[in-house]
Each structure stands twice: as C-alpha cells, then as structure tokens.
C-alpha cells in the first residue's frame, strides 16, 4: 500500500513536471528573439500590448529580448540631451527581427534651429512659387526629424485669417539647400506623398 502511494506521488510529480516543462518550452517556441540597437538613448522600455514591461534598461546600446510571436510591442525611450522622448509600436511576426531606435531631435532643439532657417525657407518658397507667393503670408515654420524636413503655413495676406484657407507646404533640405517636396495643400496623404515620412505628414495635418 505504502509502495503504491509512493508510485502515485511520483507519477503526479512526473505529470506536473511534464506540464510545467511543456508550458515553458511552448512559451519559448512561441516567441522570437528581437534585437534592439539604440543610439542617443538614456532609457528604453519595451512593453507588451497589455502594458506589462518586458524589458527596461538605462543607457542601452544593444540588447535582445524574446517576445511572443504575432504581437505588437510598445518601445518607449528617453533621448539624451537634445533628442526626443517618444514611443513607437512595433509588430512582431513569426521571424526574428531587429529594431533600431534612433531618436530625432527634441522639439526645443528643432524650434531653435527653425529660427535660423526661416530666411532660407522663405527664399526657397519665393523662388518656387513666384509671383503667387507674394499674395501669401508665411507662418508656422517648423522643422522635423534632424532638421532636414520643414513645413510652412501659407495664408492669403489680403484676407482676414478666419476667412482664408491655410495651405501647408513641406520642404526638404538636401546638400544644404531647401527645396519644395509637396505642393501646398490643406492636407497630405501617405498614398500621394510617398517620399515624405508618414510621421511628418501626420504632424503637419494635425498641427
């Protein structure tokens, strides 16, 4: 009788170990290694769709985390001085992936730079849309990313601001010179402006 109890106990232990082992193995198989490379980052936090922290590190440059397949993760980061603090979502499929985090310049740094670029941006627009541009006042000079993208708002100068359309135009700096990337419009769409990063289109449309 005592022997049977021992056997039963061993059997239950074996089954429990098998279940735990299988669950651990399954969780491993159902995840993929995701490598992260980070530059100009003070702190990085990787969360799953439920908000649970999967990884957190200060002063990271490169690290790897196993993440469940077919999930979306949120990568939040705090940039070094002069770089943005932001977050972005990454979709994880069934294959290993490398996520590169390179924060853009911070809003305050871009605002400082934009003050120096207003003259060059105005000159580029005057050159591109002369003489029509003379009827418009230029405002809301904004820079994006590393200061190589800009947007400007154009409004009829001879009409009350509330009665005129606000056209936005996006410019790009290449080899030190600004050039018009999109024709002035009320809104910009990713399908018709494929050369402009979507996050910039979104910021311009929602500003």
């Amino acid at each position: 009788m005592q022997m049977n109890k021992k056997r039963l106990f061993a059997f239950i232990c074996l089954i429990a170990a098998a279940i735990i082992g299988f669950v651990v193995l399954y969780r491993y198989i159902d995840s993929v290694p995701v490598s992260f490379t980070a530059t100009n980052i003070q702190k990085i936090t990787v969360k799953n769709a439920d908000g649970a922290v999967l990884h957190e590190s200060s002063d990271p440059s490169a690290f790897s985390v196993r993440i469940p397949k077919q999930t979306t993760i949120e990568v939040g980061f705090v940039g070094r001085e002069g770089y943005e603090t932001s977050s972005r979502n990454e979709r994880i499929g069934n294959k290993p992936k490398t996520v590169s985090i390179k924060p853009y310049y911070s809003t305050s740094r871009l605002a400082r730079l934009s003050a120096n670029e207003q003259g060059a941006l105005t000159a580029a627009l005057q050159k591109a849309y002369s003489p029509v541009i003379a009827q418009y006042s230029l405002s809301d000079f904004k820079l994006y990313h590393f200061g190589e993208w800009a947007s400007v708002t154009l409004r009829r100068a001879d009409t009350q601001a509330s009665r005129t359309d606000s056209y936005r135009v996006i410019l790009k700096k290449e080899s030190g010179a600004w050039s018009v990337e999109t024709s002035p419009a009320l809104l910009f769409y990713e399908n018709s402006h494929k050369t402009v990063p979507v996050d910039i289109l979104r910021q311009v449309n929602y500003s």
């Binding site: 077919q70 294959k95 002035p184």
Partner: protein, 212 residues
C-alpha cells in the same frame, strides 16, 4: 485484482490523452481567435504571417493580417483583415488565368459556390470598413454654421477604401470640416478628403527650383 489494475490503467491512459490534447491542441490556441478561411478553388493555399495553410480554421492572435491565396492556373487573391476578439469567416475567390480553370467555371454548382463565397467576402469587407471607419454611419453630416457638408465614397481601385467629400464649404467651413473629422478620430493621413469647390492656386503651378 487484475481487473482493477486494468481499470486504473485505462483511467490513467484516458487522463494522459486528455493532458496531451490540452498540451498540443488547446494550449497553442490560448489567446488566439478561430478564423475560418474558405477559398475557391478549395485546394488553393493561403499565406498568413509567412505560414501557409489550406482552407479551414486557423488560429490567429488579434491584429491586422494580409492573406494571399495562391493556386496554379489562377490569379493570386489578396485581402487584408482585422482580427478582433471574436471568431470570423474570411472568403477568398481566385480568378482564373488558364483555360483549364476557365472551363471549371462553366459548371453551375461551381458558379453558385463562388457566388456564396463572394457574398461572405463582401460581408467581411463591409464589417472591416465599418469597424475601421465608424464615422461612416454618421455621414452625410451637415453643419450650417460652417457651412460645410461631409459625405463619403469608396476608392474605385479596391472598392473598400473610403474617402470623404467636403462640399458647400467656405474657407472657414473647410477648416471646421477638417476639425470635425479630427474629432471623429479619422486618420487624415490614410483617408483622403476631397474639397469640392476649392480652387488651390498652387495646384497647377510649375515649381521653379533654386538651381534652375
């Protein structure tokens, strides 16, 4: 005594089978939603998330997926679906590009089957559009203080991508229409807005480049 041992062995065996079923069938489906995929031709293969499946039920975690159905002699059929927390059906109907495939379509039962699948596909498409753009149920919308009116249409290329039409609007109305669309959480980067009556003075201008 021998009989008792047999009963115990049978019970333990049954429990082990249940356990194996749980480990190999139920466990991998936890957190996933059953998605029934029907295709014509039924022996086509569909690729989801880099994995190839036949017609039948696949289990997917909630999210957006692009499904590509392939079969020799038929054009690929592609659809994008949103999987939420509820089971759903997806139908893919491939178009023939070979004589053999075209001959198959002369059969009346095949035509009926394809029409049924096309109906399921259209319903699924409608559900996806309504889920992704709930604002459509509020349109047309008019605001006499703008003034503006907003309605919608569907892109002719895929017949599933909506766009908005803003009409009867002044400059102020257009601005208020954009604000109203933003409040409805419309993605104004993905969804085009056509402003009827807007004469954009820059649209037909040729841009002079600085280095010219």
């Amino acid at each position: 005594m021998i009989q008792r041992k047999h009963i115990i062995a049978a019970v333990v065996g049954f429990l082990l089978l249940c356990l194996l079923y749980f480990l190999f069938v139920t466990l991998p489906r936890i957190g996933k939603v059953p998605v029934e995929i029907a295709m014509h031709p039924s022996d086509a293969k569909v690729t989801v998330n880099d994995e190839t499946h036949s017609s039948g039920t696949v289990y997917l975690k909630p999210g957006d997926y692009t499904l590509i159905a392939k079969r020799e002699g038929w054009d690929d059929a592609t659809t994008t679906v949103s999987v939420k927390d509820e089971p759903r059906s997806i139908a893919l109907v491939l178009e023939p590009n070979s004589q053999e495939a075209r001959e198959l379509l002369e059969n009346e039962s095949v035509i009926t089957e394809r029409e049924a699948l096309a109906g399921i596909a259209a319903n699924a498409r409608g559900e996806d559009i309504r889920a992704k753009t709930p604002i459509l149920s509020k349109l047309p919308y008019s605001d006499i203080f703008g003034p503006f009116k907003i309605d919608f249409g569907f892109n002719q290329d895929d017949n599933r991508t909506p766009y908005f039409i803003v009409s009867f609007a002044t400059a102020k109305g257009r601005r208020l229409a954009i604000e109203w669309l933003k409040k409805q959480e419309v993605d104004l980067v993905k969804t085009e807005v056509i402003f009827e009556g807007l004469n954009n003075p820059f649209s037909n201008l040729e841009v002079s480049h600085a280095d010219e």
